[in-house]
Symmetry: none
DNA sequence: GACCTCGTTGACCGGATGCTGACCCAACCT
DNA sequence: AGGTTGGGTCAGCATCCGGTCAACGAGGTC
C-alpha cells in the first residue's frame, strides 16, 4: 500500500513519513506541488496526503488538476487554516477528506484508513485485459473465468502491468511498485514474470505477457492472434 | 458501537465528536454529503447523524440515496431550520428522526440512544454469504439453517468479513473492527479465524473462510466449487 | 559464425507467514 | 469459593514465498 505525502514543511513531512511507515504503508514524499502532481500522476498511490500551502503550485491546483485529468486517487487535504472557506474549496476541487492542522496523529491514521477502504469499495475494483481479470479488492485473478492462484508478489506485478495494459512497463517501474523496500535487481522481476507466465499464459496456451527487450514487459489482449 | 456524523460545520462536528466519544461511541466524521454517503455505504455504522445543509450533496439526497440502495441504517437528521416542511421532507426520504438546531445535547443523546435501541429490535439486519447468515441484531449465526454458536469476538470478526464478502480483508482492518481498544498482534485474528473455521467451515466440510496470504482473509460463497 | 548482452527458468534454501494446541488468567456465573 | 467460558499469549510446526544463483537460450552486432 503506497502513499504519497506532499508536504513542504520538513519536520512534518518527516514525522508523517516515519509514522506512516511504522503503520505499514510505503511512503513517498514530494516537497512541492509540482513534484507532487508528477508523482501522483503515476497512479501508483492508494492515497495522496496533500498540504494546501505549498511552494510552486498550491494544493488546490494540484487537486483540481488531478481530477481534471481523471485521476481518482483519494486525496486527504491538510491545511494550517481551518476556515470553512478553505475546507469547502478543497472539497469542491475534489479532495475526499480534510484535516486542519494541528491534527491528532490517530485521527489522521483513522481517516486515512477509512479513505483507502472506501476507495477500494467504490472504485471499479476489477482490472480486465482481454479475458484476464484482476479483482484488486478480493485479490482474485481469473483467466477466461477460471480462477488462477497468484502469490502477493505475482499479483502486484500483474496489477501494474494490467493498469498499464498495452504499454511497455519498465522493470524499474515494476520493482518500484511491487517491491516496497528498495530492491534493485531486475532478476527479481524476471523471476516473477516467469512464474506468472506459467500460471497465466502457459496453462492457457496464451502469450499475453510479452517481453519488450531492453525495456521491460507488456500485458496485451492476445486472444485473436495469427 | 460506531456512529457516523455527517456535518460540515467544523465546530459542531468537533463538539459532537468529543461528546459522543465520551458517551462511549466510536465516532467517524464526514464533512460533506458525498463523503458521508460513501462512508455510510460501508454499513459499519449503527447510526448516522446527518446534517441537511451540506456542501456537495445535501442531506435529503444522501438519505434518499441510501434508502434507495436498501441501506437501513438509522438516520437522525439535523437542520438549522425547524419548519414542518423540512421535517416532513426529511422523514419522507427515509430519515428515522429529526432534530432542529439549536438543540440540547442531552436531547440528541437521548434520541440517538432511542433510535439505536429501536433499530436493534425493529430491523434485524441479516448478513448472508451463501448459506451462511449472520443476524447482527440477534447475534445469531447459521450455516444452512443450522444454528452455530459463536463467541462475541468470533462474531465480530465474521461480521466484518461478511460485510465485505468476496473481498480480501486485512488483519489490520479486522483488528480495528473487532478489537475496539487498540490491539496490534495479528495472531489475535489468526487465532479467532482458526476457531471460526472449526465451527463454521470444518463442521460443514466447507471452505468459505479463505486465507489471502500476505493480506488477510476473505469470506466467500463456496457452495459450488470444482 | 563468434561474441556479447539480455532474458528465461529450474533448483535450492532461508526466512516469513500462518495455523493450532496448550496454557493460563480474568470475568462471570452458581 | 469453585467452576466455566472466553480469549490472549506463546511456541512449535507446516507451508509457502521468493531471493539467489547459475546454466542455458535468444537476439543483436560485427
Amino acid at each position: 500500500m503506497r502513499i504519497l505525502v506532499v508536504e513542504d514543511e520538513v519536520d512534518l513531512a518527516h514525522t508523517l513519513h516515519t509514522g506512516l511507515t511504522a503503520e505499514g504503508y510505503s511512503v513517498d514524499l514530494a516537497h512541492d506541488g509540482r513534484q507532487g502532481l508528477w508523482m501522483a500522476r503515476t497512479g501508483e498511490y492508494a492515497l495522496v496526503v496533500l498540504d494546501l500551502m505549498l511552494p510552486g503550485l498550491n494544493g488546490y491546483k494540484v487537486c483540481a488538476q488531478l481530477r481534471r485529468e481523471g485521476n481518482a486517487t483519494p486525496i486527504l487535504v491538510l491545511t494550517a487554516k481551518d476556515g470553512d472557506w478553505d475546507q469547502a474549496e478543497a472539497l469542491d476541487t475534489g479532495a475526499d477528506d480534510y484535516l486542519a492542522k494541528p491534527f491528532s496523529y490517530m485521527v489522521l491514521v483513522a481517516r486515512l484508513r477509512a479513505l483507502v477502504r472506501r476507495a477500494a469499495t467504490v472504485a471499479p475494483p476489477v482490472l480486465a485485459v482481454g479475458d484476464l481479470s484482476l479483482d484488486v479488492a478480493g485479490r482474485v485473478c481469473r483467466r477466461a473465468g477460471a480462477r488462477v492462484e497468484l502469490t502477493p508478489r505475482e499479483f502486484a506485478v500483474l496489477e501494474l502491468l494490467a493498469r498499464r495494459a498495452g504499454q511497455a512497463v519498465s522493470k524499474a517501474d515494476l520493482l518500484y511498485h511491487a517491491w516496497p523496500d528498495e530492491a534493485q535487481d531486475p532478476n527479481l522481476v524476471e523471476a516473477r514474470v516467469s512464474a506468472l507466465r506459467k500460471k497465466v499464459d502457459a496453462a492457457f496456451h496464451r502469450q499475453s505477457l510479452q517481453t519488450v527487450r531492453g525495456t521491460g514487459y507488456r500485458l496485451v489482449d492476445d486472444r485473436e492472434r495469427d
